[in-house]
Symmetry: C2
């Protein structure tokens, strides 16, 4: 098991048992996320913008439109932060103090660089596309040269990352256990549902296998 190096700014200080630094855990949370939240600084102001991503090894590819502030800023070589979060449940303890959430999250840091060549961009878009829906790269029309030129892709080599995970039920204080308050977990599930074909399809509207394979996935 290979770990990300732990730094002061990625160390889980609060309840350290919830912290994970191994690639397997970190990458599985990244890979099962449909989106990430990209943080960057512009004129001393923090911005947090949702975007889509793909991962290859320790490299993240972030995709956005050419014109956007997000791509300009995040591709400029400055340090950026990319965060991935799944909510798995609302933990209702007897006491509000011990009430919590079940979640899986990753906070990753690295420097962004804009990809320039068509080859680099095609490769990165392939990774991003496959992460959202495996098989889609083959199942759709790939980008033209003109489209590639209108597309920005930023690569981020992750320097440091940590995961934080909470699972399980409520952990109440001993003296509250016999109290009159209910305790338990309200599970939260994010799921991919039955596809809705476009109404202007000229071909068989039944979704192809690679689309059907995504149905029912719980993230």
């Amino acid at each position: 098991m290979v770990d990300y190096e732990v730094k002061k700014h990625t160390k889980i200080n609060r309840i350290p048992i919830r912290g994970h630094y191994d690639e397997e855990t970190v990458h599985s949370i990244i890979d099962s996320s449909l989106i990430c939240h990209l943080g960057f600084v512009q004129n001393d102001r923090p911005f947090v913008i949702p975007c889509i991503h793909g991962r290859e090894g320790r490299t993240l590819y972030l995709h956005g439109a050419k014109a956007s502030r997000l791509m300009d800023e995040s591709g400029s070589g400055k340090e950026i932060c990319v965060t991935f979060t799944h909510v798995d449940g609302i933990v209702l303890a007897r006491s509000l103090f011990h009430s919590s959430m079940n979640y899986r999250s990753v906070v990753a840091f690295g420097k962004g660089r804009a990809l320039n060549t068509d080859e680099e961009k095609m490769h990165a878009l392939d990774i991003v596309s496959e992460q959202l829906c495996q098989g889609r790269w083959e199942g759709a029309r790939t980008p033209s040269e003109k489209e590639l030129r209108a597309t920005s892709v930023v690569a981020v080599d992750i320097d440091f990352a940590s995961a934080k995970i909470r699972t399980g039920g409520a952990n109440d204080d001993e003296e509250d256990l016999a109290g009159p308050w209910w305790a338990g977990v309200l599970p939260v599930e994010t799921k991919i549902l039955t596809p809705i074909p476009s109404d202007d399809l000229k071909i068989n509207p039944n979704p192809p296998q690679h689309v059907q394979d995504r149905v029912g996935d719980v993230l």
Copy 2:
């Protein structure tokens, strides 16, 4: 309909028709989110941290543990960014270039201030708790003085905010419509499921009404 003032850093430039600045739209996205992503700058480095929140008018309350970096930094009066995102679908266009996501997001900016008095904290925690599960404040043990002292709450008066929403199907180029590629949407749903009672309950394990009322909510 009251709008948030539009500033350069909150204006939706890319596909402006997807931008919304009215309180109703912005607040409904905030209120239906279980978590937010808080962005702040520390030593020139951007941090993006998931946290829970409540909203009252244009004020957000963010809750965290006393010791955490998040609360120290975000309560210090510096400008912070708070982002809320729901993913509603993966839009599979015939062309990868027009493939997209359906989503509802809000990006809000304001200055954070740590709440100091027990009264302020109790009020804010009430708002946060009710946002996660309405009725829970009455249904659980409220915080003791000692617990309040160990709890940090940051209030953020939102100065500027904008929402961005994409709905609907794939928008392909005319010349791709007759192509051999399937197009449509894979809906994504985040839902609250049947509660799991703690196994150490000394009372009736059936969830009380306020917990049952949350079941089936689609966020």
